[in-house]
Amino acid sequence: MPSSTKDSTNTDVLIVGGGNAALSAAIEARQAGARVRLVECAPESLRGGNSRHTRNLRYLHETSNRFLTGPYREDEFWEDLQQVTGGATNERLSRFLIRESADLGDWMIEHGARFQPALKGTLHLSRTNAFFLGGGKALLNAYYATARRLGIEVEYGVEATRLQLDGDRFVALEVSNGGGTRIMEARTLVLACGGFEANIPWLKEYWGDAADGFVVRGTPYNRGLMLRQMLDAGARSVGNPREFHAIAVDARAPKFDGGIVTRLDCLPFGIVVNRDARRFYDEGEDLWPRRYAIWGGLIARQPEQIAFSILDSKAIGRFMPSMYPAFEADSIAGLAAQLGLDAAALESTVSEFNNAVQPGSFDPSCLDGCRTEGLTPAKSHWALPIEEPPFLAFPLRPGITFTYLGVAVDERARVILDDGRATANIFAAGEIMAGNILGRGYLAGLGMTIGSVFGRTAGKEAARYVAE
């Protein structure tokens, strides 16, 4: 092991990570009087983890306000969460999350956040979710400015490489800036450094070579080093390692960091076929906001992790444009040729689908009566025959937002060990512990709720530990 220089700055709370959860923790801890130091792996220009790609957060509120069109109460929030996870959630922690999220927007505004008035958009979230003016990077810029004003020490381009523990107590952290390594001592540690979705070799442990076909939508810096070390050190794991929040993105997206502009919302308006030109799931099962998050996982399980959204001209203008143009042809066979699909197979899939479509009145805003009859898998809503050229196609890949494998925490954001004891001075917030809440599925804007609530909790609890 190369020798490390000791960095003996007097730190109460050392925070690993630079996104929403990390900054929320840093701000709370500092305001509680702690000396706070934050190490962010990314350079300053790319700081902020996956939060830089976010746009909104979901939180409990009893009344409408300038940004939210109506109330969103605990029962409804809890039901939504249960529905998307299919019950795979820790109820005690989820209820804690929901209650603690009450009027989160106000706290964020106090610390520099700005929201935009409720606007249109494809997910119809204006009642439940508040939208950051300018998006997540603007939010982070505001938080970093607040952090600077409060006197929080921030270091960029510094990766946490090794934990030094004394039993289950955090002692020091080895960090590297690419050149040398340093040892940072601190009284408490807050891990807010995300999941491991950017660590392809780790994903391969569960997915094999399929992981090569995944697109990582967010930061390339979420390699899960701290997560792995905590698990190795005896932290109790939560979340299925194969589960993640993943959506359908354009297959032409960059491997990392493509963010929002590569996602495709056109799937419900046509059919989705795999490499063999076969359909594999009900494209019209439910409203898109409730289903967009299942398609990443569905495509990840298809051969070669590729799929194609096939549409006709009726779909044009019904979905948000992506940054990539559609493949276009005057015939299904022509489209198949462009996509490298078997023309006869695609033609037969399309005509089978068209023949199964029942008459109905099309309405994309609700669960309409347009469905198929006698087709497996069925398309339950918005089924219109694909017959009007030009025909369009988008190639799809699973776009992973974040992984669910994480460390178990309690309501004080303390990391829980395998034997059920809580660590004394190690806290976790954000995607590294999101699996406590999300066993599966996703609810739009919940990643930021988890980061904010557990980030703030971790910051307060770490400061309290130091004070005691």
Partner: protein, 388 residues
């Protein structure tokens, strides 16, 4: 396309062959590439009207791009909020590409093009307006009025005209103004057509009123409420405030000149006017406002965040601000020293700067008044409920 070619990788609309395309069309291609990405994101839609206008479109031709570029007030806010800004591989930097396009707009639409290209680079404009013009006027004055008269004190009504005669002062001013106004009017019409406006829409009085109010209040320089990230990543309203000083100061000086012309032609009162007269009060307050505004904007320019690569319109902006500053400074100095023997030369220098301004109005930063107005008008009409 085979499945293997569908493996993750960047689509490269920006890799179209550079070939012999003129700068302008390369810029349009690059701006369209960036707008296509922005249109799939839309996080900035709360900042300014550019993004809502973008959302009304799915493809971007030259007219769309020119329109959006001239609608942009260069506040930098979207750049600092952008998760795709360099060093991200998508390299989104809307303020920079739009600033380049605005310079191109002025060059393309303010004819003759040769003059336009020459002057909108800034350095030539500075040389012409700040050096050549004042020297020429001073020399002419010395020649026509004689050295003695030029260098001695003149007092009382008509004092100015004893140095430079009324026709010699007003004639060239009106001629250059008429020239510049026609160039700008033709440019406006050409630009209006390019951005998809119809001639009949120019008669929409209500749209004009709303647009005029937006322009006068700088409604869109608020960056969604707290000002813009100018000159650096912090939100600030200083640029908007300073611009107000310059624009309103300019307006006050325009009012002063108009009142003075009215006094001379209809009331028979001849300049110089007393200190407590409308032309002097309006002119002096306008002059002070511009002096502070221009100095402030120049200072902001110096501190402007270097991140949005270079500042493509810096030369144009700076030369215009320097010229306005010099006009205000010499105007105020002339007022202070109008009873002294320095009056003659000061008057000549001041009028030299003014002549430089009048001559170059269509080719420099002033043109933004016209083209920005056209874009704002188009936006007002496009957003109005009965537009579509």
């Amino acid at each position: 396309m085979s499945p293997s070619r569908l493996s993750p990788g960047k689509l490269s609309p920006d890799e179209q062959s550079p070939g012999e395309l003129p700068l302008n069309s390369l810029l349009v291609t690059e701006a369209a590439r960036q707008m296509t990405i922005c249109n799939a994101c839309r996080y900035c839609e709360g900042y300014c009207p550019v993004f809502p206008a973008m959302e009304l479109r799915t493809a971007f031709d030259k007219g769309d791009i020119s329109y959006l570029a001239n609608l942009c007030h260069d506040c930098q806010t979207c750049y600092h909020a952008c998760q795709y800004a360099p060093p991200h591989e998508f390299a989104i930097d809307i303020p920079t590409v739009f600033a380049k396009l605005r310079v191109a707009t002025y060059a393309e639409h303010s004819r003759p093009r040769a003059l336009s290209r020459l002057l909108n680079k800034g350095r030539m404009a500075i040389a012409l307006t700040c050096v050549v013009a004042p020297i020429a006027v001073v020399l002419l004055t010395l020649l026509l009025a004689g050295v003695t008269s030029s260098l001695s004190a003149h007092r009382g009504p008509g004092a100015f005209y004893e140095v430079i005669s009324y026709p010699a002062m007003v004639g060239p001013a009106i001629a250059t103004l008429l020239w510049s106004a026609s160039v700008l009017a033709l440019g406006f019409l050409r630009f209006w057509r390019e951005i998809g406006g119809r001639p009949i829409q120019l008669l929409d009085l209500r749209a004009h009123l709303r647009t005029f109010a937006e322009a006068l209040t700088l409604e869109h320089m608020k960056g969604g409420g707290e000002g813009c990230t100018y000159p650096d990543e912090r939100f600030s309203t200083s640029r908007r405030t300073l611009h107000h000083l310059v624009a309103w100061g300019f307006g006050l000086d325009l009012a002063s000149t108009t009142v003075a012309a009215f006094y001379e032609n209809f009331l028979g009162r001849i300049a110089p006017f007393p200190i407590w007269s409308w032309p002097v009060v309006l002119g002096a307050s306008g002059g002070f406002a511009m002096l502070i505004g221009c100095a402030g904007l120049l200072a902001l320019k110096r501190r402007r965040d270097p991140d949005p690569s270079a500042d493509p319109s810096r030369a144009m902006d700076v030369s215009f601000l320097i010229l306005l500053f010099l006009i205000s400074a010499t105007g105020l100095l002339l007022l202070a020293l109008r009873d002294s023997s320095a009056m003659g030369l000061l008057l000549a220098v001041h009028l030299g700067f003014v002549a430089g301004l009048f001559l170059t109005l269509p080719y420099g930063k002033f043109a933004h008044v016209v083209y920005r107005y056209a874009a704002l008008l188009r936006n007002t009409i496009e957003r109005s409920p009965d537009a579509r």
